[in-house]
Symmetry: C2
Subunit: 203 residues, 2 copies
């Protein structure tokens, strides 16, 4: 018995297919399942199938949704003049938690990543331009992640949007609130210096 | 939309029920599922159900098995005179990887943990004593984990086995091979000193 028995090995491989899960974690999780009762196991498997079956993408902004139009887009109190462009639905959730943003979103479904063969056509960029044409949008806030690919995508979008009558902004860079300067990386510190704001108290 | 939509929230909660998985990891894994194709999702859910359905416990040693008697117990080349007592099937796998142990196992199914309400009756201790009575066992190696509960259980078993004609041993404590003494905790260092072995080369 050099390896695990087949059904366990298969389950471990399945857990490994989840993002960020290595062999050790997958093995631990597979053993957890073996400790489950039959009812717990059924519930687990059903939650997976149900989520996949019932969750779709909002046809307007591509946020995840269990209805054709997502909860944000169908909320009449949101400002349709501001659209925050994000990489994925997780970013939408992150902003929603803050509860300070009252505009809409547009989920790109990734970023331009030539190394992985992802170009603008694989993202919901065409649909963004359609929205800019058809909706009363005043401002587009580009909120892709502060990574190289996120930057590239932000620059690409900014260039595309030059031809449209819409203001385009990008999230501010700086030191994270509550963080320790000692642990901030150099690029972040440089950006924080560059973006410094006057706090002079003029009489 | 202060929370995730219901089917996603349910899936996250299911992932959280796996050992050692917190809210953040569970959320990441749930989003992974949403990125799966329908076929991938079906395969994942089926692997869970199949593993649970087909994996049972060996009726002799309680190791996990897809047959009534596990691969170790049914291997005629193993020495039935030596039984290594472990907490769970994961420990069996760990020893099997070494490929140097040729005896059998006995899986307790946990350790005595009064704080969690687990007493000797919840473990396969009665079955171990039956094996000592009915099988040609010469030696019992107690290989519970080097934790407080593992120690308690080892001591409990050692006391029980005093009445039987069988040698009882415990895994050696010491500094882990390849480790750095600087990082070894004090208890381990103390045990390593206590268990020191002579390397005198007598003429």
């Amino acid at each position: 018995m050099a390896e695990y028995i087949a059904p366990l090995e298969i389950l471990i491989e399945q857990f490994r297919s989840l993002k960020g899960v290595g062999r050790k974690t997958a093995t631990r999780m597979a053993f957890s399942i073996l400790d489950f009762s039959n009812e717990q196991t059924e519930r687990f498997a059903n939650a997976i199938l149900d989520a996949k079956r019932s969750i779709t993408h909002c046809k307007r902004c591509f946020n995840i949704s269990d209805a054709p139009v997502c909860a944000v887009c169908s909320d009449g109190r949101r400002d349709p003049g501001v659209v925050c462009v994000v990489e994925d639905a997780r970013a939408v959730m992150a902003f929603e938690k803050v509860k300070e943003y009252h505009g809409l979103y547009h989920v790109l479904g990734g970023v331009i990543a030539p190394m992985e063969g992802i170009g603008p056509d694989q993202l919901h960029i065409r649909e963004l331009l359609e929205r800019v044409n058809n909706e009363p949008i005043r401002e587009i806030i580009i909120a892709t992640n502060p990574t190289i690919d996120g930057e590239t995508t932000a620059m690409y979008l900014a260039r595309l949007l030059v031809d449209y009558d819409v203001e385009v902004s990008r999230l501010a860079y700086g030191v994270p609130v509550g963080g320790d300067l000692e642990y901030a990386d150099e690029v972040t510190l440089f950006r924080a210096m560059e973006g410094r704001k006057s706090i002079n108290q003029k009489p």
